[in-house]
Symmetry: C2
Subunit: 276 residues, 2 copies
């Protein structure tokens, strides 16, 4: 199985702290098992980033989950053409949704972080398909697609939550579209860095003023709608201006104020999100 090299220069002595799913989880939950535990022991729920659920709902979610799954970095979690596929919650690791044109041009639609629901659109949308690929090793909770309707019927709250998640994801794509359509290269980079940092922050993943940052410049180019070379030059410039720093697979915002101003990004506080 293809396993991409770790991004950015990484000195030997820090290799051990890479961002594979295993290492990632180890930071919060020591032990060898990367697989999600039973729902009531879910690490994510303990972060306070998610809305609490009743014992009843928790039990249903647990029973609704048919299995858990680990996939290595770079693997395709959902194919761009094939409909069907499962419904997942990303438990650990990074992934992304994307679309490609037939000549290979690729656009990343948004990044998926722990707690995000994956594959909802396949259930609905008008054939407009997208693929999903794992950036790092990932672990997933698997739900049956055809049980979704039962969920809505038996637990309207959870149905409401799913709509919430769908609307939130749309909001992220909206932001991205604003970037791709109307921001210049530097503004796009600033926006992306702020956006990802804040999402990770909410998940409690800031450590020593930095977050894990497993994506490479090709990913960044593909989400921003820029070429790889131009992305590189732009990021280099921002880094040299002291706005941010990416090193050893981690991201520091050295001057968040300036980044925020550059991106014309005004944050509302992130609310707690539902978690399935």
């Amino acid at each position: 199985m293809y396993r991409p090299a770790l991004p950015w220069t990484m000195s030997k002595d820090t290799v051990a702290q890479n961002f594979s799913s295993k290492a990632y989880m180890d930071t919060l939950q020591p032990g060898p098992a990367p697989s999600p535990p039973p729902c009531k022991a879910c690490r994510l729920r303990k972060t306070g980033a998610f809305t609490p659920v009743s014992a009843d709902e928790m039990a249903f979610i647990e029973s609704f989950r048919t299995s858990t799954l680990n996939r290595p970095a770079g693997s395709t979690l959902m194919h761009e053409q094939k409909p069907g596929g499962k419904l997942f919650t990303l438990y650990a690791g990074w992934a992304f949704r994307y679309k490609t044109l037939s000549d290979g041009r690729r656009q990343i639609l948004n990044f998926l972080l722990p707690g995000d629901l994956i594959g909802l659109q396949q259930e609905f949308s008008d054939g407009a398909m997208h693929g999903i690929e794992a950036v790092t090793d990932v672990s997933l909770c698997v739900f049956p697609r055809d049980g979704l309707w039962e969920l809505f019927r038996r637990y309207p709250n959870l149905g409401y939550d799913i709509t919430w998640l769908a609307a939130r994801e749309e909001g992220m794509v909206d932001d991205n579209l604003l970037s791709a359509g109307r921001r210049n290269a530097a503004e796009r980079v600033a926006m992306l860095l702020m956006h990802l940092y804040r999402r990770l922050e909410r998940l409690g993943l800031v450590q020593d003023g930095s977050v894990e940052f497993p994506i490479n410049q090709q990913h960044i180019a593909d989400i921003l709608g820029l070429s790889l070379v131009h992305t590189n030059k732009t990021m280099r410039r921002l880094q040299q201006l002291g706005l941010h720093e990416i090193r050893n697979g981690r991201l520091w915002l050295r001057n968040p104020k300036a980044l925020q101003r550059l991106a014309d990004y005004y944050d509302a506080p992130l609310r707690r999100a539902p978690l399935l």
Copy 2:
């Protein structure tokens, strides 16, 4: 109240057939009243473009609807900053969702056509706001935002439908992001024309091989992420190549095959959509 001039050149003798909500509706339902009728007489449901609902659900929807509303072309249906606002179904006319940067750059996120649900995201998303503006005169069915949860509880089917609508809209934004990020100007235009034509077609709005097309080139530039001038030059070229024609506020696809090839657009058949 500001009332924009009709787009593109329009000779005097065709002015009467403009695309105000009233004229629009008159084409299908003669009579002076532009306001939506009772739900069971809803013109939209008769098009076959929407999924049928039970009598029970229909009655609930009717009672859920607090009022109807007409707004003139150019008016703001939802403010970009202010949260709250109502929940609407667009009954007649065109509108669009947009975001702006503080220096005025505007990105249209997607167009809203009859049957589309409006304002769902305001209920949920993390502060990431967008505005909504009417392109033509519009008429709307108004629903109370705080009744949404009750809807989910009492009619899980309808909750499911709302999720469907949210996912479908996200799919449209996805497509748009692919365009803005990875397609060149001509490809973007081709994509947009195909996309809008097909949506209108599904609503039964094709007449004599053309559809009403009330948006101007500034709208098109703003949804495609291009400048007005470049949009004009690109569209001019495509029109001269015989791919399409826009005249008297109507759009013809003169060479759909070529447009489709140019846009790298492959259509799955549009499914019936829910209608609230």
